[in-house]
């Protein structure tokens, strides 16, 4: 009844549910598209390559530093513009960036992730793109990463943080 009242001047009530469904699917579709574009960049710039990560950690190529550095600069300018010009999201909301609190995990966990990063040659994003690129054995790496996440969750309250 509430729905009928809300919509009595706009759409007939029987259309409401399908419209909502459509809206939900549409809103998830945009994330799929951004993800696809992101995956294409990962492969085309060869960021998913184990060799690029080795070059980076051996300080033998500027490439990955250039990628990460320029991504941070563009991200920083964008966030500043959003804040200063008070840009809203397309649905009119105030843009909200949650604050990250400092915890010991950023040191211990960070170090552990770094050790894994040099082995797999991939942070979590490239793992997905590697699988899509046909390196199907990386499914095992991904499953193991999910297991690692699960084990962290299981013992989260017992670890120093």
């Amino acid at each position: 009844m509430l729905a009928t009242e809300k919509n009595k001047n706009t759409t007939p009530v029987e259309c409401e549910a399908p419209n909502l469904q459509e809206k939900k699917n549409e809103s998830l579709l945009k994330y799929l598209i951004i993800g696809i574009l992101f995956g294409i960049v990962f492969v085309k710039a060869e960021i998913i390559s184990w060799f690029r990560i080795q070059e980076m950690f051996r300080l033998q190529s500027f490439f990955m530093y250039g990628v990460i550095g320029s991504a941070v600069i563009v991200g920083m300018i964008s966030v500043q513009l959003i804040k200063r010009l008070n840009i809203k999201s397309i649905s009119g909301e105030k843009i909200n960036i949650p604050k990250k609190e400092f915890r010991k995990g950023q040191i211990i966990g960070g170090l552990i992730f770094g050790l894994g990063w040099a082995l797999t040659g991939a942070c979590p994003g490239p793992l997905f793109a590697q699988i899509g690129s046909g390196f199907t054995v990386i499914v095992v790496t991904l499953l193991s990463a999910i297991a690692g996440t699960w084990v962290y969750g299981k013992f989260a309250d017992k670890l120093p943080n």
């Binding site: 809103s27 945009k30 994330y31 951004i34 993800g35 696809i36 995956g39 960049v41 990962f42 492969v43 710039a45 060869e46 390559s49 184990w50 990560i53 080795q54 980076m56 033998q60 990955m64 250039g66 990460i68 941070v72 563009v74 991200g75 920083m76 964008s78 966030v79 513009l81 959003i82 843009i95 400092f102 915890r103 995990g105 966990g109 960070g110 170090l111 552990i112 992730f113 770094g114 050790l115 894994g116 040099a118 082995l119 797999t120 979590p124 994003g125 997905f128 899509g132 690129s133 054995v137 095992v140 790496t141 193991s144 990463a145 690692g148 996440t149 962290y152 299981k154 309250d157 670890l159």
Partner: protein, 193 residues
């Protein structure tokens, strides 16, 4: 069209890739008020499939479905780029890196990943245990413990001037240097390289 495919098939330089990755930050903020982060998707997968009553996984993962859809997109993007605009030439890797890797037994540059390591035959050997099982575990455990990965901390966190993210990024790099320069050689000879 053919020219376009030829042009797009070349490897993209860092000054194209980096800014495009950086633009993901405002794209997600403006289109959906979402903060960029990829490793969270692994947590949402745990919450969706194997929550096991653990408090860390007891939340409404359906609200975070966008993140899982996003990484699914990354996988599809990887497929599209490799299938339609793959670079026909072999990857160009720094000379010094090639020398270092040759000493470790890695000499195959025919694809983006060294064939000596990343193949199914290695799965049930020490090589697979090291690179897939241990490597993956450290990535999943470490990113969650740190509360984010390269995207959430290094890119999103530093972009929004959050110093804990800078700390996390410094330790990501330290971990990587430590593995590459201290552990990788001995570990690789241990598993038969």
């Amino acid at each position: 069209m053919e020219q376009f495919i030829e042009w797009i098939s070349q490897p993209w330089p860092w000054w194209v890739a980096g800014p495009l990755i950086g633009l993901t930050v405002p794209a997600l903020l403006i289109l959906g008020n979402k903060t960029f982060g990829i490793s969270s998707s692994l947590r949402h997968i745990c919450a969706a499939c194997i929550p096991a009553g653990i408090p860390f996984f007891s939340y409404d993962w359906k609200k975070e479905l966008w993140n899982i859809i996003f990484v699914l997109g990354v996988l599809i993007g990887g497929f599209i780029a490799t299938t339609f605009f793959a670079n026909p030439d072999t990857i160009v890797v720094a000379e010094a890196t090639q020398q270092d890797l040759a000493a470790l037994g890695i000499t195959d540059y025919t694809s983006l990943m060294p064939a000596e390591i990343f193949n199914w035959e290695n799965l049930l050997s020490g090589k697979g245990l090291l690179f897939f099982v241990l490597g993956g575990f450290l990535v999943g455990f470490g990113t969650r413990y740190a509360g984010g990965c390269t995207s959430g901390h290094a890119i999103m966190g530093i972009s929004s001037l959050q110093w804990p993210s800078l700390v996390a990024t410094i330790f990501f790099m330290l971990g990587g240097f430590l593995m590459t320069h201290v552990f990788l050689g001995p570990l690789m000879s241990l598993v038969g390289f």
